[in-house]
């Protein structure tokens, strides 16, 4: 009896399921960032709004990359249904706190996929997911540094203006990258 399953698709159904779930999580993250961008725009925090628009684009790109991978492997990629996302926030700090919580959730989900790939001996998908592991290091760093600005500078009117100005300057630099550039 031929192995039709393996001939048609190179990833196992259980891996397809968790990858499709990750597609949904990335789509939800993109929608959540859009809601944050809208809130920041409404309250006059232009740099923060731009930051979240960029984040929304990035999450969508993450989603599409996963979607294409599932499809390229011969499995059925599922266009995600995005549920309700949080639109109302009390303060700018709360927006950034929510952003960090979302990134932590995404990281945990990606770690679970990598663990499942190892369990299923799916080395190709594990290798593919390593890009996401690295990406999450950057995403969490940016979200954490943004939140730290509130601890350093405070929550009053002038502090918030300065924080908003500093948001675009938060850039993650991989350890050793600066040295390599100089060399």
């Amino acid at each position: 009896m031929k192995d039709l399953m393996r001939q048609r698709t190179s990833i196992k159904p259980e891996i397809v399921d968790i990858l499709n779930e990750q597609v949904r999580i990335e789509a939800t993250a993109s929608a959540a960032y859009l809601a944050m961008a809208a809130w920041c725009d409404q309250h006059g925090w232009e740099n923060s709004a731009d930051h979240f628009y960029t984040q929304a684009d990035e999450e969508r790109m993450h989603m599409l990359k996963l979607f294409r991978y599932v499809s390229d492997m011969g499995a059925a990629a599922i266009s995600p249904q995005v549920g309700e996302v949080q639109h109302d926030f009390t303060t700018l700090r709360e927006v950034f706190e929510t952003a960090l919580d979302n990134e932590i959730h995404v990281t945990e989900s990606i770690n679970k996929i990598v663990a499942a790939c190892r369990n299923a001996n799916d080395f190709a998908t594990e290798s593919f997911m390593q890009w996401y592991v690295q990406e999450q290091v950057e995403e969490e760093y940016v979200a954490r540094r943004a939140l730290e600005l509130f601890d350093i500078m405070g929550d009053s009117g002038m502090d918030l203006i300065l924080i908003d100005e500093r948001i675009p300057k938060i850039v993650y630099q991989e350890p050793g990258a600066a040295g390599e550039a100089e060399a």
Binding site: M1, R8, A75
Partner: protein
Amino acid sequence: MFVYSMIQLFSSEFGATYQSDQDRCFYLHFQGRELALSVCSLIAFKKKVDSVDLVKMLTDEEDYSDVVLLSTCQREAYFLLSIREIIDLKELLGGTLVMLELNSILHKQINCGIS
């Protein structure tokens, strides 16, 4: 049309699944019908069947019909299923996937050598 070169993968009280190497697809026999399914269609149909919430069906006070209408991936066929048939179909498709997984393991062992 029943193709006799088909290999039975799994059977349940109400149906059975077969693989045809010649046609490179699977056949689902259910409710007196024979339906050809590709790998993708089989997995997608299983996902649909698995997503039927039996508890909700049993407890829904607005719908006493206790039946659900399901289509296959390409909408080639529609099934009107009772609760008993859904339970049976879940078992049938679940068992089929396990058998296909087992076949993949056997192929891998044969190709890579049994250790």
